[in-house]
């Protein structure tokens, strides 16, 4: 078995209004960042998983996203990085 770290990003779907993001944008503009066009707030989830190989790890994380980490009614998800930490004995 190998230990992998996976970085999952969950974002609100583009059609979903994000008042938190609007508030962040307003705050940035208040600080003088006039160039900020948009801000959207999502979630970053760092996972450590044990699996036979990378394909198995990716499949497991995918199932996690589909089953719990993301609500497809309002959110999209992606795996930003998946890499082996160490080979377990």
């Amino acid at each position: 078995m190998t230990v992998f770290t996976a970085e999952v990003v969950v974002t609100l779907r583009p059609v979903i209004n994000d008042p938190q993001g609007l508030s962040v944008r307003a705050g940035l503009r208040l600080l003088g960042f006039d160039g900020v066009v948009s801000a959207r707030v999502g979630k970053f989830i760092e996972l450590v998983v044990e699996a036979e190989d990378e394909a198995a790890a990716r499949a497991m994380v995918t199932r996690m996203c589909e089953r719990l980490l993301c609500n497809p009614v309002i959110e999209d998800w992606r795996i930003d990085s998946l890499r082996a930490l160490e080979a377990a004995t």
Partner: protein
Amino acid sequence: MRFGIAVFPGTWSERDCAHAVSLDGHEAVMLWHRDADLRGADCVILPGGFSYGDHLRCGAIARFAPLMDAVAEFAAGGGLVWGICNGFQILCEAHLLPGALLRNASLEFRCEPSWLRVETEASPFTAGCRRGDVLRIPVSHGEGRYVADPQTLLTLENEERVALRYVRADGGPVGEDSPNGSMRDIAGILSEGRNVLGMMPHPERACEPLLGGDDGMAMIRSVAASLDRAGAFIRAGENPRTPR
């Protein structure tokens, strides 16, 4: 009749619900989240609170509790399930109701009176009300902004499954006074079989004049009366009302 009231870690409204149904002479039994046992309940209430700390998303973790398997089975067989506040969020996460509940548009936690227009009498939860009645029932939530895709919203409207809508005290459109910015001012929706209701406001907190009003009692009485009628509730197909 017997109301079963779900208790998850972080549920905070179960005693209020038990008190409210007892005022109308009904029995209340608590349903522990780890037990897939509805204890012979005629109607299951998923009460308000912050189940599992509302972590990840409100209701996201509660939906996987063993109790929810029994609730889903009960609902599939036509059993009455009433989700209030966090219970509504759980029902959406469990796909027993469509859509989702997001952070209030104001980003504030709102704890205040709200006015709800009854949009259909064709449900066990509102059968004792008149369409157009305005109920004064408080909200208490930070994440009650109902969202769904346009097709789902259309279906809900066409099938007359929007049970309750936020309005002003005079019954007019709520506009900017919406407590949460819900699409189409939706406060409560019914399942396709009309036996599952999810609503953000708390009827159990409006059951005694001493507490500022008893409009919530109309809904409890509706449920009891619906069950009394041959032990069955009014199904959508049995109601002659033509959907708008």
